[in-house]
Every structure is written in C-alpha cells, then in structure tokens.
C-alpha cells in the first residue's frame, strides 16, 4: 500500500518535471497563431516558418560551432588535467581538483559579469572566440568530472602492467588508457555539447548583433512575438537532446556522468 502511494507520487513529480516539454511539443503543430495548448488543428507550417527567420538559423549554426569548439578544447585540456591529477601526488591536489570544478558552483551571473569584464577590454565581446572561451569555462568542469570518474574506475594495475610489458608513458596512454576511457570521453563530450548548446547566462553578456546563440535568439524572439514558431524550434531542440540522451545511454548510461565508475579492471 505504501509502495503504491510512493509510486503515484513519483509519477506525479515526473509529470511535473516533464510538463513544459510535453506542452511545448504539441503547441508547435497547432493552426492558431498564438501559443496555445491544446493545439487546434494540425500543421507543419511553423516548422517551415523557421526558415523565414534567418537570424534563428544563423544563431543555430553559431551555437553548433561554439559547442563543438568548446567541447574539443575542454576534452583536450580536461583529459590532460585529469591525468595529471591522478598520477602525481602533491600537496593541494584535492584543492586543485575543487578549483577545476568551481565554475559549477559559482553563480552563473557572477561568472558572466566577471568574464565580460575581461573580454570587453580585449575586444572579444560579440566575437566567436569570446563565446568559445565562456562556454569552455562552463563545460570544462563537466569533462573533468566525467573523465575523472572514468579514470578513477580504471584499474591502476592495468596501466602498471602496460609499463612492465615495455610500453612507455605515451604508448600506455594510446593503447591502454585512452581506449578504456573511450566511452567516458564520449559521454562527457555529449554532455558538454548539450551544456554549451543550452548555455544562456554567460552568453547573455557576450552576444550582440552579428554573433548570437540560439537560446538568446529565441529569448529575443519571444520578447516580441509569441507564436508557435518558437515552439517548433523548441521541438527540434528536444529531439536533438533526446537523441543525445539515447546515445549516452547506449554508451553506458547517464549514471556515469553522476559519479559511478567505469569498469576497466580484470576480475
């Protein structure tokens, strides 16, 4: 009996969490020109209307490019950092690890303000580079955390065995560490892509005419006209996110992102 009440409660909370998404998607298909639910009629015209808004398309392209760059930088820098933190013991190692995770706890608005104050004198406001720097700041902690957890689950004996068999550190990394980290890297990268793609607050201070990201362009759009076009864009985004989640699940699950370790050791 108690279990049933709990189950109903949990389902209720899940519905609450899913509500906005569940509402947005059907709204993209309604005939009416106002965002309404339930939608009346069925049409795909709002999806094709997206094409009539070049600013949305260019913002989408920007967001994709920024996400790819930020993720690439985070992967390289993050993996190097995580390897160094694991291999070498030095005083303050834990504090340093915390430092790399700090952007996660820092209020986004503070990060946004501070970064803007540095980018502006450098002339990096409204530039691609400026946005990549800001996004890397936000995605790096996720990579450090995911790849770090993956690396922690990697049996040290495997790497030592490689050394005793004649592999120098670079060969060990290439033939043993990297392949076994593989899925952890992919999960971290996917997560990073999503985080960057959805990033709002830091971008808020950096974007401008000529260099916009999709979330901010959508925000602008809604300020002036609330029509189902925005719901159509949202639907596409939801589809992309869902595909990404399925990919992550296939690669070993979201559990990994939240701290569970990869399995790399022998029995």
């Amino acid at each position: 009996m108690r279990a049933n009440i709990l189950t109903i409660y949990v389902i209720g909370v899940l519905l609450f969490l899913a509500a906005p998404v569940l509402i947005v998607i059907p709204s993209a298909f309604g005939q009416e020109a106002t965002l309404a639910f339930p939608p009346i009629g069925f049409t795909l015209k709002w999806f094709s209307n997206i094409l009539a808004h070049p600013e949305l398309i260019s913002a989408f392209g920007n967001s994709v490019a920024i996400a790819l760059m930020a993720t690439a930088v985070s992967l390289v820098v993050g993996t190097m950092t995580v390897l160094a933190l694991r291999r070498y013991e030095f005083p303050g190692r834990e504090a340093l690890r915390m430092l790399f995770l700090a952007p996660l706890v820092c209020p986004a608005i503070v990060l946004a303000t501070a970064v803007a104050m540095v980018l502006s004198p450098l002339g990096l406001i409204r530039t691609f580079t400026g946005l990549v720097v800001a996004h890397t700041l936000v995605t790096l902690p996720y990579i450090v955390r995911t790849v770090g957890a993956s690396l922690a689950g990697l049996d040290v004996a495997l790497e030592e065995a490689a050394l005793t068999l004649g592999a120098n550190p670079w060969q060990r990394f290439r033939t043993i560490t990297l392949p076994l980290l593989g899925s952890g890297l992919l999960v971290g990268a996917t997560f990073s892509l999503i985080i960057s793609f959805d990033e709002f607050t830091l971008s808020l201070f950096i974007v401008g005419n000529g260099m916009m990201t999709l979330p901010l362009e959508m925000f602008n759009y809604v300020e002036f006209s609330i029509d189902p076009t925005i719901a159509a864009v949202s639907t596409i985004l939801v589809l992309i996110t869902t595909a990404a989640i399925l990919l992550i699940e296939k690669l070993g699950g979201l559990g990994r992102q939240f701290g569970q370790s990869a399995s790399g050791g022998a029995r």
């Binding site: 949990v10 390289v76 608005i109 808020l204 985004l237």
Partner: protein, 272 residues
C-alpha cells in the same frame, strides 16, 4: 609531470581566477572603463539603498523557499530511486535527469504556455467555470519559485539519492529488530544518515537559485527583481560596471560563506 597540468592551470587562471580578480578590482573603482579612482562608494551606496536591500532579501528568500521546497518534494523521489527494487527505477532516473538537459529556454516557453493568461491552466479553470477572468499566474514571486523548483528539483533528488543509495540497509534492519516502527525507523535512522545528501543538495540548489537570471526574468515579467536581474541592469542597461561588480562580489561572498559553512558541516559531521 607539470606539463600535463599546464593547459588546465592556464585556462582556469585566465578564465576564472583573473576575471574574478578583475571584478573585485572594478567594484572598487569609480567608473569603468574610465580614470582609475578607487573608492568604496559603490558598496556604500548598495548597503544604504533600500531598493538593493529589498532585492537581496527577495533573492535570498527565494533561495530559502526553493531549497526547502525541493528538499521536501524531492526526498521521496530520491528514496524511490535509491531504495525501490522496481524495474522502472532506471526510467525514473532518466525522467529526473532529462529536464536538466532540455534547454532552459524551451522549458520556460512551456511554462509560459501553462501559466500565461491564455495558458492551459487558465483555460482549464475558465472552462470548468471556477473563475471568469484569467488569473495572473505569472509575474509573481511564487510563479518564479515554482519555475525554479522545477528547474532545480533534479539536482536535489540526485544529491539525496546518491547518499541514500550508499546507506547500508542493515542499519534499518537492525532498527526493525530492535522494535522501531517504519516511521520511527526513518526519522531516527535513515534521515540522519542521509543528512549529507540533503546538505549537498541544499547547497547546490541555494547557490543556483541566488544566481539565477532567466527564470525570474521570464516568469516574473519584470515584477520579480532578483540580484541577477539587477546585475544585468547595472552592467548592460545602466552601464555602471562598478556597481554591477560590487553586486557580483556580494553574491560571490554569500556563495563562499555558504560553501565554507557546508565544509565545516561536512568535516564536523563526518568525523562522528
């Protein structure tokens, strides 16, 4: 070798530490960009002004409300995730994590459709005859609170679930054999053991709430001003960077104090 560590150190130094230091410096300037005149006038103005005190109280009040709400609402879900042997557990886990990955813009559009004057709830209530005129569900502190609870609930649930999952079931089982009823068992055994998870989740939720921008802007429609909105106004609209920086510093200090308190709590608590 330090060679491996250098890129990371350089980046964090340049993208996090340096900007924060700059922000600290700017908060003590008269104008920025401009001639270098150091002053604490900006801070003084903030601490004196009722407007800003109001905003600060509202922001922290929001933090408190959202934290308590997510803790209360989220705990049972965390329990389900950690303890239930059901085979739907993984789906529930996905259901909790999924909203985190959906763009906040998408979610806010959804909330608008739900809560707007022509939104779902109003339409439903009018069609049921409960009300005649649409309720203004947005534009209020509470709509912002609900929106934030929605955004931050997964963080709280996951924090608690992680700790609950690690608690050895045999503690509860021992309590049962000693005569504890399920309710007393929970209150006296499980709840205290899960405090760590509650604390971690609360810190995350509170920190994220006091720094939030988009949800108050959108759901508040200009009627709910929080610190983040104020910072934006100072930085972009009024172009008074020193004041913006000062507000940012105040927010940072509040966050650091909270983290320090959490750290003290952790070390004292886990030393039992």
């Amino acid at each position: 070798m330090l060679l491996l560590l250098t890129p990371g150190l350089v980046f964090i130094g340049a993208a996090l530490i340096w900007p924060l230091l700059i922000m600290l410096r700017v908060s003590f300037l008269q104008r920025f960009p401009g001639p270098v005149v150091y002053t604490i006038a900006k801070y003084a103005a903030l601490l004196d002004d009722n407007y800003f005190i109001d905003i600060t109280l509202r922001t922290f009040g929001l933090g408190l409300v959202v934290t308590v709400a997510t803790a209360v609402i989220g705990y049972p879900v965390a329990w389900y995730l950690a303890r239930s042997p059901s085979r739907w557990r993984h789906l529930v886990f996905l259901g909790v994590v999924y909203p985190l990955l959906v763009s906040v813009v998408v979610r806010t559009v959804g909330w608008t459709i739900l809560l707007g004057t022509q939104g779902v709830i109003n339409k439903l209530l009018i069609s049921l005859g409960i009300i005649h005129d649409p309720l203004v569900l947005m534009e209020s502190f509470w709509s912002v609170a609900v929106g934030l609870v929605h955004v931050l609930l997964p963080f709280m649930i996951l924090s608690i679930a992680a700790v609950l999952g690690r608690i050895d079931k045999s503690y509860s089982e021992a309590a049962y054999t000693l005569g504890a009823t399920p309710m007393r068992n929970f209150v006296t055994v499980t709840l205290p053991l899960s405090i760590e998870g509650l604390a971690a989740g609360s810190v995350i939720v509170f920190c994220l709430t006091i720094g939030t921008y988009i949800t108050p802007v959108w759901l508040g429609r200009g009627h709910v001003t929080v610190l983040a909105i104020s910072i934006f106004d100072e930085m972009v609209t009024l172009v008074d960077w020193p004041t913006g920086a000062a507000l940012g510093m105040l927010l940072t200090v509040a966050t650091l104090l909270l983290l320090a308190a959490y750290g003290v709590f952790l070390s004292r608590y886990t030393k039992r």
